[in-house]
Each structure stands twice: as C-alpha cells, then as structure tokens.
Amino acid sequence: MSKRPGGQLAKRPLQFIWLCDCSGSMAGKKIESLNFAINESIPAMRQVAEDNPNADIQVRAITFSSGARWHVETPTEVQSFTWSPVNAGGLTDLGQAIDLACDALEVQNMPERGLPPVLVLVSDGQPTDNFSSALERLVRIPWGAKSVRIGIAIGDDADIDVLQQFMGGDARELQPLVATNAQDLVKFIRWASTVPLTAASRPASRPEGVSTDSHVPVPPAPQPSSSPIDPSDVF
C-alpha cells in the first residue's frame, strides 16, 4: 500500500484526575481502603485503554487535607501508572483541590484535540474551605464544563449535597455513590475509573450552548452491596 498522506497521527488525550480526601477523619480503615481500591482499579483502567485505542488515557491525582497538592502531577499514561499510598491527617480543603484541577484544565494547558476529562472526587466529610467559588470556576472554564465529574462518598458523614454540586447535571441522571464499607468502595472506585472513562473516550459532538453540563452520557452506577458485610469492613 502507498504511504499514507498526512503528518503524524495520534490518539486523543483523555485526562483522568483523582481528587482524594486525605483529611484526619480518613485515617485508619478509610484511607487503607481508598489506597487499596485505587490500586485495584488500575488493571481495569488499562483494559479500558486497550478497548478504546483512539483514547490516550493519562492519569493524575490530587490529594487534599490542610491545603491541596498534586500527588501525581505529570499526566501519566495509564499503562505505566502506579499508585503510591497516601496518608490521612488535617482538614478538608476541597476548594483548593478543585482550584488545582482548574489550573490543569485551563484551555492553554489542555490539548486542543483532547477528549472530555474525567474527575473523580472521593471524600468522607465536609469542605473546610471555600468550595463554592472553586466549583463556580470549574464549571465556568470550558474544559471544566465539559468534564465528566463523579463523586464518591465514604461513610455516612460525607456531604452528599457538595458531591452532587460537584457532579453537576441533573440529580435524576447520576447521583453521588455512597460507600459505607470497604467492599462497596472498591466496587464504586472500579466503576468510576472505568465506565465514565469509556464514555468519555467516545464522546459525541453537540450543539454549542444546548446544555451547560458535560452531557457525556454515563451509564448508571452499581448499587451498594446487599449481602452481609464483615463488620470490620464497615466505615
């Protein structure tokens, strides 16, 4: 066959960002389960990448407690991504974490041909800083508005309203996932790291201005476990 015309072909970049609550209340079973669940989700994410060869899935991670910081700042190919365990301690500065994500999602920092980014927020409590203004910024910047945002609550003390606000869209379509035990957290983390990723890998174009949400249609999330749970696994 003749040489293909045109320059270099490339997969379309898709950024996946973990936002992990590492506040003091996450200490013990919760943070252990979070580290385990994210680590366990990596093979499934790699499978998603293989199943969607047009997407170049790149993983990053932000942790927040007293302040926020990059845990994995450089967008890392999912095939070479590994998870270093995080520790718990401090407050719950979710607003700063979202601001960090916004910095990464500004137009000048994002690839032109990028697929809608996926942000997964995992938290067990209530923000201790100015979360609202950060969230306003997130939905105002173009790539933030286009992003697929999933919220996972750990335990019963998490602020579901905050997570729903983070997810945006219609609460009837997709609601925060509530994990009250380690088993469910693993299940929800696995879902959040694969299903929205698959959906974002195959976006449809849409008329500008028709909707303010990302409207990457995401299939429904799994339900919490109904089978008996080991009491030691309950948060």
Binding site: M1, S2, R4, P5, G6, G7, Q8, L9, A10, K11, R12, N52, P53, N54, A55, V107, M110, E112, R113, G114, L115, P116, P142, W143, K146, S201, R202, P203, A204, S205, R206, P207, E208, G209, V210, H215, P217
Partner: protein, 339 residues
C-alpha cells in the same frame, strides 16, 4: 462553465464509537457538477459549477436522528445551488466579476439553506404540530442536529460556507495551505455550531474568493479527520500530500485505490466517522508540459491550432511533452509547470 475540467472525489468511513453504539455513519458527503441547463438559463449558454458539501451529524443520545440530519443538510445546500436564478448565475459567471455582489449573493443563500433544511426535517417528522417559530425556540430540530461545510466553485468565484467543525482547506501552486475561515479556538471539546441551533442562519459563515489559477485543489472534511492528527500542522500536511498526489494520473489512481483504507486508519485514531471530499483540476489540464506550450503560444492560438489540426497538435505536443518531462527530471531550466 468551468474553464479547466475539475474532478470531485468523496469517501467516508464509519467510526469505531458509532460501530460500537450500533449507530450508522453520521457523516454525509456529496460532490456534484451542477449543469445549469434549461430554458431559464439559455442566456448563459450552459454553464456548470462544482459543488462539494460535507455534514457531520452529532450522533448523541439527544440527536438520535442526526444521520438523517446530515443527509438532509447536504441535500438542502445542493438544492439551493441547483436552483440559482439567472440573475444570480450572471453575477457568479460574470466576465467582469464583482466580488461584493457575489458575497452579498452568497450571504443571502445561507439562511435559505438553513430554511431548506428545517423544511426537510419537518417533512421527516410528518410536520411538527407547532409553528415553525415554536419549533425553533423549543429546538425540535435537535434530534437531527448536524454541521455543514460547502464549497461551490464556478468560473469567476468560489463560495465557501461553514457551520460547525467540518473543515475546508485549499492548497496553492506553491503548496501553501490556506483556509477561508479561521480555526475557532473558543469552542473546545466536542461543542460545535449546528443547523439545529435557533440562530443557525446567522451563525453560518460565508466567504467568496475570486477564481485564482494558482489554487486548483480544495479539501473538505469532517472533524473526525482533523482529530486523527497530532496537531494542526500534521493535518495540513494531509492537504499538501493529497494536492501533490492528484497532480498526476498515477497519483490519482493511487488515491482512488487507497483512500478508503487511509480513512479507516484516520478513524482508528480519532474514533469518529471520517469523510473527505477533494475538488481539484484534472491532471491532464495541469500537466507538466502545459507550461512549455504556453511559453510559445497564447491561449487563443492554442485553441485554434487544436481545432484546425488536432492530429499534428497531438503528435507535436507529445514530443514536446517528452522533452519537457526530460528537462524537469534532469532539473534543467526553461520550463514552468502550468498549474
């Protein structure tokens, strides 16, 4: 009529994401050489023009019928250009072309295309139950949402129209790539302007260029093609490469044999439906030897010689052609390629 003979080549390939979703190809593409015959065009003595259009249906859950929307989009545009009035054609085929008039004419056609499309969609639905204005404001057309880009090339002008993210490029004699419209950097991700938007008739961009002999190649494509490339420069190399390819018969044959497979490869990277339309002057009218011939004869004399003594012209031309090719291959001077 078109002075040189022009060729239109189109090809399309469904994207992986639509295959997996069980959807059809959401792109539509059409090329047609429009012959203006009929008694109403008698004064113009049978002019013709090249029409190329590509449309990309949104293919989402909110736009489940956008494959129909894209087909109707190219049909709507074609029907407008096929039914230009004598007065309009006179403007476009004038020997004393007035650019401003041509632009005003083209500008008038944009809302007609949108209106045509809406009418076709209403027919698809068996007629909407509410008024047209209500349909527009409630966006009853969303299910059929699609983009549209058009190139209409006639003697004196080329008209370009663009609504959404399908691209139009040209390549000139110096292999420089140009676009009638700038790239929008404000729209990110998968957002695009669309025929289903209430103000689509105002959003449709329009550009008219005087016929430029140095530009004999146009490329129209859906965004699935552009998104396969690492960046804009790599995408523009596609236009350059294809423009070079179609300059020879061998290249044209190569194109026709391989275009489908190349599109499949582009689709693997973008994941989207990919459609390409090429509008270019036929290779024989841009042969390397044209320059040598023009060097010695004016255009009018060329025609007379051809008419009077075709055989002697052909044999003479062939021998000069060989000399011309030999000169070009060896790099010796004196010949300028007639593009």
């Amino acid at each position: 009529m078109l002075r040189n003979k022009w060729i239109g080549v189109t090809e399309t390939e469904i994207g992986l994401k639509h295959k997996r979703a069980g959807r059809s190809n959401q792109d539509a593409i059409e090329y047609k050489k429009i012959q203006y015959k009929g008694i109403q065009y008698k004064e113009l003595q049978g002019v013709s023009a090249g029409f190329m259009a590509v449309s990309d249906g949104h293919g989402s859950d909110r736009c489940p019928k956008s494959d129909i929307g894209s087909k109707r989009a190219v049909e709507a545009a074609l029907s407008v250009f096929e039914t230009l009035t004598l007065d309009q054609l006179s403007t476009l085929f004038s020997h004393a072309p007035e650019e401003r008039r041509a632009f005003e004419l083209a500008r008038e056609l944009c809302p007609r295309i949108v209106a045509n499309w809406r009418e076709m969609i209403q027919k698809e639905e068996g007629g909407f139950s509410t008024s047209c204005e209500q349909n527009i404001s409630s966006n009853s057309y969303l299910a059929y949402g699609a983009t549209l880009s058009v190139v209409f090339r006639c003697n004196s002008f080329t008209i370009f129209m663009k609504l959404g993210d399908c691209e139009i490029l040209w390549v000139d004699q110096e292999e420089k790539v140009g676009r009638p419209f700038g790239r929008s950097i404000e729209i990110v991700g998968e957002d695009t302007e669309s025929l289903c938007m209430p103000n689509a008739d105002q959003l449709m961009q329009c550009c008219v260029r005087r016929d430029n002999p140095s530009v004999q190649f146009y490329l129209v494509c859906s965004d699935g093609v552009e998104k396969a490339f690492v960046d804009n420069s790599a995408f523009e190399i596609l236009a350059e490469d294809l423009a070079k390819m179609v300059k020879t018969r061998e290249g044209l044959s190569n194109l026709k044999n391989n275009l489908k497979s190349w599109l499949k490869e582009y689709s693997e990277f973008s994941g989207d439906d990919v459609s390409i339309g090429l509008l270019f002057a036929k290779p024989s009218d841009r042969s390397h030897c044209g320059g040598l011939y023009k060097k010695h004869l004016s255009m009018s004399r060329q025609k007379k010689v051809c008419m009077k003594s075709k055989k002697s012209f052909v044999s003479s031309f062939k021998s000069q052609s060989k000399a011309c090719i030999d000169k070009e291959v060896t790099g010796s001077g004196g010949v300028t390629a007639n593009q």
